[in-house]
């Protein structure tokens, strides 16, 4: 494993290829009224979050499995070494960022209610259907 020489992350800009294209942001929420499935809207949110959690756990297990298999194949470490690992500040900071993004993703069920309430919302779930049938 490469040693971390400097623990404070330096702001060193790499020589970037000229005129790197601007990043593209794609919408994440579909237009249209979101149905309510359960009598208590809190149940909808909890189910939403549970499925997201299922996904993240599945992704994490896949990644961990990849790492462990690659390391074992390269005879780099044994699984026991993972238990004794302590992240350095840079690793800790990267983990923190990833953790925040993860929580943000999980909490979208909560944010969505606010977005819907503040958007000029459609009157009812049937509206887009009525529109095409007229």
């Amino acid at each position: 494993m490469a040693k971390q020489r400097n623990t404070t992350p330096r702001t060193r800009t790499k020589a970037t290829p000229k005129a790197a294209p601007a990043p593209v942001k794609i919408a994440r929420v579909a237009k249209g009224k979101k149905p309510q499935y359960f009598a208590d809207p809190a149940t909808d949110k909890l189910l939403w979050m549970t499925v997201t959690l299922m996904e993240e756990l599945s992704v994490t297990r896949d990644r961990l499995d990849t790492v462990e298999r690659l390391l074992a194949r390269k005879r780099v470490l044994k699984t026991q070494e993972i238990d004794g690992y302590k992240p350095d500040p840079r690793a800790a900071s990267e983990r923190d960022q990833r953790r925040r993004a993860y929580i943000d993703r999980m909490m979208r069920a909560v944010h969505a209610e606010l977005e819907e309430a503040t958007r000029s919302a459609l009157k009812s779930a049937d509206d887009p259907i009525a529109a095409v049938e007229s």
Binding site: P21, V24, A27, A30, V59, T66, V132
Partner: protein, 376 residues
Amino acid sequence: MKFNHHALLPETLHDEQARQDFVSALRGHLSGRVMPGAYKIYQTRVLPAFVAAQGREPEDEQEVRNVMTRDPYYQFWSALQRRSQELLWESVIDPTERLAPELIAKAKPRRKARGSLRLDPALAIPRYHTAADIHLQPGGYHSEFAADDVAAGAIYDKGINLYMGGALGRENDLMGNTLVAYLRERHPARRPLRILDMGCAIGNSTVVWARAFPRAEVHGIDVAAPVLRYAHGRAEALGVRAHFSQQNAEATDFPDGYFDLVVSHIVLHETSKSALVRILAECRRLLRPEGLMLHLEIPRGRSVIEKFMHNWESYNNNETFSRYMTRIDLLAEGRRAGFSADELKLEEFAPKLDVAQMNYAENFFWKILAAEKRAD
């Protein structure tokens, strides 16, 4: 099923792939293990309760809806199915967003292109696209997130493959193949020289027609620019010649009688009551005498419970027009559009699918609305 890679399909990083794999597995589970339970619940507790209360069975899918949406098993499946659909798009948006500038560059028309791309920025996007994002795809087919954007196309290409558990084939070619098979079976002597694919989106079926009839001039039209740019880049990457143009199928700029064959693949149920008749009328105008029209449509169920289950898409997946399509007679729509009764035909075609690939019903059959234009 393995999905064929081509230059415009976003390459996934490890976790992006793991997300897509999860979505695929979850949807397979929902379709194979959870959805069939909704039919059992209906038979064993919802229907008996309805009969006990009303002294009769439900007359239509709306009556089934009134009782099923109150059943906790159905509610849970429905909420899970909705969430799986949202996750599906998220899992495809991640790599698309990361690679967007690269994809845009790759899709740009080249001087030595085999086919062509013609866009019309002044074309009005119909309300049936803008009222709600079809299939919950954020931004739908038409929204542009960058100049010369192709994101909607890239998202759709991988998304529809995940949607039906890979059932759409290695190049999302199942629908094109189904309709080509129908043509070869029913009209073996036909060798169409001009073919129009309406509502072609990413041209996944357009490409199938161009390969099946390599001497034909094959056109694909759609109202949405991002999917057309992608369709052009995709067809070029696959080495197939096709001509894509941004047009509304309700009124195109092709001359009368220009085409031997006009087709569409699961497009009609994404339109509207008024658009549907206008599209069929436009098909008739575009066909030469003895020309053929073939529209492949999604099954909408036979029994009231099947119809109700298919209508899930209308209420939960922004397929706003599919509820209307469940209860209408497509042949009558064809007659309203100017076809005579003896020109029209409505047939069922059944491909073999795996249980994990059927989202709302255990019996899956395509509908084909066909018409052979008589000489006037």
